[in-house]
């Protein structure tokens, strides 16, 4: 997905990341699908820890972006992924 990737050193709380992704996706794919798809892709990537790094977040966004392309086209999907990226970056650093 185009856009400046999240720094690999960034660390965020997994729960907060999933919450943020769901919030951005909800207007497009609905609350239920937003929540289940974010969690399902997270599980697919083997993300189980309470904290995720930038690389894992990028992998998650990549998967969600590819799924969104089917419904929204490449351009709009990239915009939505970018919105998720910026929203995650603005979260506080995980301790």
């Amino acid at each position: 997905m185009p856009g400046l990737p999240i720094a690999a050193t960034l660390r965020r709380n997994t729960g907060e990341v999933l919450e943020t992704i769901s919030r951005v996706l909800e207007p497009y794919i609905g609350k239920l699908m937003a929540r289940t798809s974010a969690t399902a892709h997270c599980n697919d990537l083997g993300i189980r820890a309470a904290v995720v790094d930038g690389q894992q977040i990028e992998a998650l966004l990549e998967k969600l972006g590819l799924a969104l392309i089917i419904f929204l086209g490449k351009e709009k999907a990239a915009t939505v992924v970018e919105a998720m990226r910026r929203a995650i970056e603005s979260l506080r650093e995980a301790s």
Partner: protein
């Protein structure tokens, strides 16, 4: 507000008004208003031009949607097929406009319009199958393939059972051979259309509340009304049930109107 959203709202109001008028005449045809301001000619114009307008907008806007999907993606092929199907339907409806308002004659059945309508069905069915494949492989949790398999089997069985009482009277009292063939063919094609439609309804339910759901609830609603309209038309035509005229018109209008609104919502979603 985007142009697609504004157009969608305006056409929703128009659809509600025309459908209400047609349904009102279907329920109370003897009301004096239908002898005055809403004369049979006005009603005919509202129905025929209204349907043509909705199909024209749907065909044009869907062809623009195609460009928003990358070449080679399954969604692009699906939108191409849907757009071609809607264009064929529009050409069929345009024939009605020419018969009724240019030549000033009653639409013959069968007519050139049926060629376009018949062409539209394989395109629409192929489009829905492509959407189904694309959405199943999207990576979103749209349910297991086994669920779609049993649902498709269930719908196919339901169609086979429902087809018997619906099609039997049409076979038992045949009219002109070509007319009877078409009256049988349209509902059969509708039953085929119904299978991917129901599967897509199941998938869409998982997206409820979102913009994707708003698109699909309209598109799939349009296909369901199309199935109902074709069955009503078969009875209207085969048994000369003229009292069904307005109901048939209203059902087709709702089918084309909902397809048009679904396409407009998808266009708005891409902006």
């Amino acid at each position: 507000m985007s142009r697609a959203r504004w157009t969608g709202r305006a056409l929703t109001v128009l659809l509600a008004i025309i459908a209400a008028v047609l349904l009102a005449r279907a329920i109370v045809p003897s009301n004096p208003v239908f002898e005055g301001a809403l004369s049979p000619r006005v009603i005919l114009g509202l129905g025929t031009w209204g349907k043509a307008l909705f199909l024209l907008v749907a065909a044009v806007v869907s062809s623009r949607i195609v460009r928003r999907f990358e070449p080679g993606t399954p969604s692009r092929t699906a939108w191409q097929l849907l757009s071609a199907g809607l264009a064929a339907m529009f050409l069929g409806q345009a024939c009605f406009v020419i018969y009724q308002f240019v030549m000033g004659i009653e639409v013959p059945f069968p007519s050139l319009a049926d060629v376009f309508f018949l062409v539209s069905y394989p395109l629409l069915i192929a489009a829905l199958v492509m959407f189904l494949r694309a959405y199943s492989a999207s990576g979103f949790p749209v349910g297991p393939a086994s669920e779609r398999l049993w649902l498709a089997t269930g719908v196919a069985l339901f169609c086979a059972v429902a087809a018997y009482p619906i099609l039997k009277p049409l076979v038992e009292r045949p009219g002109e051979p070509l007319e009877t063939l078409l009256n049988l063919l349209y509902p059969v094609l509708d039953f085929l259309l119904l299978i991917p439609t129901v599967l897509l309804i199941r998938i869409s339910l998982r997206f409820r509340g979102g913009a994707v759901w708003k698109v699909w609830v309209r598109l799939l609603g349009g296909f369901l009304f199309l199935c109902a309209a074709d069955i009503l038309f078969a009875y209207y035509s085969q048994f000369d049930w003229v009292e069904l005229t307005d109901l048939v018109d209203a059902t087709y209008l709702l089918a084309y109107g909902l397809l048009c609104l679904g396409v407009l919502y998808q266009r708005d979603l891409l902006d």
